[in-house]
């Protein structure tokens, strides 16, 4: 039964929406490219609502940095503008397309890519575009320069190995634990972190009571929790949801041993996924902990963030903020906003707190293009507050391939 009316109406509606979207999209990117005097940056991340994993923290943190820089006179007297292109961390194909779209404006540098897989998938595109991208992910082996990482990709956070090493070091040396249990998701993130934690355990002479993995979407970890009964501490490399399940089930089983995790920790605590007793002995190895810091600069950042967005600053926001300042310093050092020049400068620069950064005592690239070499250990309290109990320097990784 063919009726043309709904079809025509639908086509018209579709055309209208697409036109609208195309126009609004064009508006957004034009602002940046029209003024030739401006220093252009590009951000590669989604914001809330654009996908199930989109968070606005990165954009907010970066925005705050841009505002501050522009108020203080910009970079070498030129105002900074940016375009944001949503790059999905879950779909490398779409993410590479987003990166390429961002290159149309020829920005001096980009900040973004929230998963190292995005940088790996975009390697050849990065090589050809010759614009540096400062990623906010923990670098795994693949993304290291000299291995499969592009000469133009940089990792702000440090490496997964570094995080594992610091976590194990804190558990064994500061907490004095000798037999640790390892948990993690049964996909790339968990498996990779477990592998490097096992290496760190070996190196530091601690013993492992067992390794268990679980599905990233698990809602029941009874078997995994039971396997941890003999440990005096647990490293759990997982996402916030199963981490919350584990913490609650520890309480149910009367386990009070410390749990250490990575960047998921603050999300579990801040979102209240686990509360009270469940987080009384909970630690997180982080590049940055704006929630419980003694650093004045980081506290100032957190206050400014709170004022502007009426939300507490997360480590993600702080890192995006720092990444913008790293880009600024590189552009200043290069004395040019040609991507290739900025990239060369990135290899040489040393960014210190007086340059505006708040998370680290300094960013300096190693041969693998990893910028940060510091891991903060945050300890959470039953009331949801946190404090940074230790800052651990991790050794630079040997240059991949050598």
């Amino acid at each position: 039964m063919f009726t043309s009316r709904p079809l025509i109406a639908a086509s018209a509606a579709t055309a209208a929406v697409i036109l609208l979207a195309a126009c609004s999209g064009a508006d957004g990117s034009d602002e940046g490219s029209k003024a030739q005097d401006d220093v252009r940056l590009a951000f590669l991340w989604e914001i809330e609502g654009e996908s199930p994993v989109g968070l606005s923290d990165f954009q907010n943190g970066a925005d705050l940095a841009i505002d501050e820089i522009n108020e203080a006179g910009g970079i070498d007297g030129r105002q900074v503008t940016y375009t944001r292109v949503p790059a999905s961390p879950l779909d490398p194909q779409a993410s590479t397309a987003a990166f390429l779209k961002a290159t149309n404006d020829e920005p001096a540098a980009m900040v973004g890519f929230l998963a190292s897989g995005q940088a790996v998938a975009a390697k050849s595109a990065l090589d050809r575009a010759q614009i540096p991208v400062i990623g906010i992910y923990e670098a795994d082996d693949a993304v290291r320069f000299g291995n499969q990482g592009s000469e133009f990709s940089w990792a702000l956070n440090g490496s997964g190995q570094g995080t594992s090493l610091a976590a194990v070091e804190f558990m064994t040396e500061d907490l004095g634990l000798t037999s640790l249990g390892l948990m993690g998701t049964n996909e790339a993130f968990g498996l990779g972190q477990i592998e490097s934690s096992e290496a760190a355990l070996d190196e530091l002479g601690a013993t492992s009571v067992g390794t268990v993995t679980y599905d990233p979407t698990a809602t029941d970890l009874t078997q995994q929790v039971l396997a941890m009964k003999d440990a005096d501490g647990v490293l759990n490399w997982g996402y916030p949801n199963p981490l919350a399940v584990q913490l609650k089930q520890f309480v149910e089983n009367g386990l009070t041993i410390p749990t250490m995790t990575g960047a998921s920790g603050p999300i579990v605590v801040n979102a209240g996924l686990a509360t009270g007793k469940a987080i009384a002995n909970f630690y997180s190895a982080l590049p940055c902990n704006p929630g419980g810091t003694e650093s004045a600069a980081l506290q100032d950042f957190a206050a400014a963030y709170q004022e502007k967005y009426d939300a507490s600053a997360t480590n993600l926001a702080a890192q995006a903020y720092d990444a913008v300042y790293v880009a600024k310093k590189a552009i200043e050092e290069a004395g040019s906003d040609a991507g290739a020049d900025v990239n060369e400068a990135l290899a040489e620069i040393s960014v210190a707190p007086e340059d505006g950064i708040v998370c680290s005592s300094g960013y300096q690239a190693d041969g693998s293009h990893i910028l940060n070499h510091e891991v903060n250990i945050a300890r959470f309290h039953a009331d949801g507050s946190s404090e940074t109990v230790s800052t651990i320097q991790v050794p630079e990784l040997p240059v991949a391939g050598e």
Binding site: L7, A10, T14, A97, K101, A121, N147, L191
Partner: protein, 350 residues
């Protein structure tokens, strides 16, 4: 008349799923494919002016190959396989494993990838031979879950927990396809070959047999049609296209990660074929284009993009249940009939 066939749920024939469209102009198909290939060869590079456009055109054409494979298994074979996205990834992993160390060439990798995915498709089809539509879909989904865990835990195929890097760029003889523009020619050539094959299949008795086996298994069996092997054949052929597309994609990008081939893409391939049209070999190509370019077009809407995307899909499905290709064809037929007769059609709804 109610379009649902009054069988008990369990016995409902798979024909109730994909509508069977009658095609009129079969003979012109191959020439149309070649004509469109020539048009694409001139038009696409001219239209894709920016880097991101050129990249997305390549993704579109590669997804078209995989979607065409899905069209074969689903629209001709009558099997709704959830495995196509995973098999794309697997094609990349297999080819990466084969070409590792540089001893075997790109072509070797692709051939082994295609053979592996075809064999897996056939094996899946055989294991699940007795299953109805939804059961088959879930069976293939279970296979994907198992396969994913295997790939992530076995370095020889999955590299580093489901990511393989450092694949050599596509090379044929001395010709290395490096840039996106170079690779475009390779992909277009491969897609053209696949489309010609598809056009030939549309003309062949195999399609008739498949449709017969799907719409009335009992009668077909009684007429000597092998009801079981025909869908398995299309599953193998379709899965082969998945492997082919994935292998080229992996070599073009230099890496392959399992995360790219999860449930989102699996549902995406179904969307491509349903949106594009289940009744024509052009459906998958049109649908893949919509799938690749529509979200990019909507990015200006920021957080509303996902809602609008879903709403547009719903509008498309409601307005053109037989897909865009089907809708276009109906408009075309409607217009040509009006032109010819010069008066309102007397065709009664039926």
């Amino acid at each position: 008349m109610s379009s649902r066939i009054a069988f008990p749920a369990r016995l409902r024939p798979t024909a109730a799923t994909a509508p069977v469209e009658v095609e009129h102009y079969r003979r012109r198909r191959v020439s149309l494919v070649l004509l469109m290939a020539v048009v694409a060869a001139f038009a696409l590079p001219a239209m894709a002016t920016s880097r991101s456009d050129a990249y997305q055109v390549n993704v579109w054409l590669l997804y078209s190959i995989a979607a065409l494979g899905f069209y074969w298994m689903f629209c001709l074979g009558g099997k709704f396989a959830f495995s196509q996205a995973f098999l794309m990834g697997l094609g990349g992993f297999v080819s990466a494993a084969v070409t590792q160390g540089g001893e075997r060439s790109f072509l070797w990798g692709v051939v082994v990838a295609v053979a592996t995915t075809a064999a897996l498709g056939a094996a899946l089809g055989w294991v699940l031979r007795g299953c109805g539509e939804f059961y088959f879909a879930l069976g293939t989904f279970a296979f994907v879950q198992l396969g994913s865990v295997y790939v992530q835990n076995n370095d020889w195929i999955g590299g580093q927990h489901g990511t393989q890097f450092g694949l050599a760029p596509p090379t044929i003889g001395d010709r290395v396809f490096l840039s996106d523009q170079d690779v475009f020619w390779l992909i277009l050539a491969v897609l053209t070959v696949c489309m010609v094959a598809a056009a030939l299949i549309e003309r062949s008795p195999a399609r008739r047999t498949a449709l017969a086996a799907r719409t009335n298994p009992l009668v077909s069996a009684l007429s000597g049609v092998s009801v079981r092997t025909t869908p398995i054949m299309f599953l193998a052929l379709g899965s082969a296209l998945g492997g082919l597309s994935g292998a080229i994609l992996a070599h073009w990008q230099g890496s392959v990660a399992l995360t790219s081939y999860g449930p989102d893409l699996a549902i995406g391939i179904l969307l491509m074929v349903m949106l594009g049209g289940t009744g024509s070999i052009w459906g998958p190509v049109i649908g893949a284009g919509v799938y690749v370019f529509l979200p990019t077009t909507l990015t200006g809407l920021e957080q509303y993009s996902e809602v609008v995307y879903g709403a547009l899909l719903l509008i498309c499905i409601v307005a053109a249940p037989s897909g865009i290709a089907g809708g276009v064809e109906r408009v075309w037929r409607y217009l040509s009939r009006r032109l010819r007769r010069g008066r309102r059609s007397t065709d009664v709804a039926g």
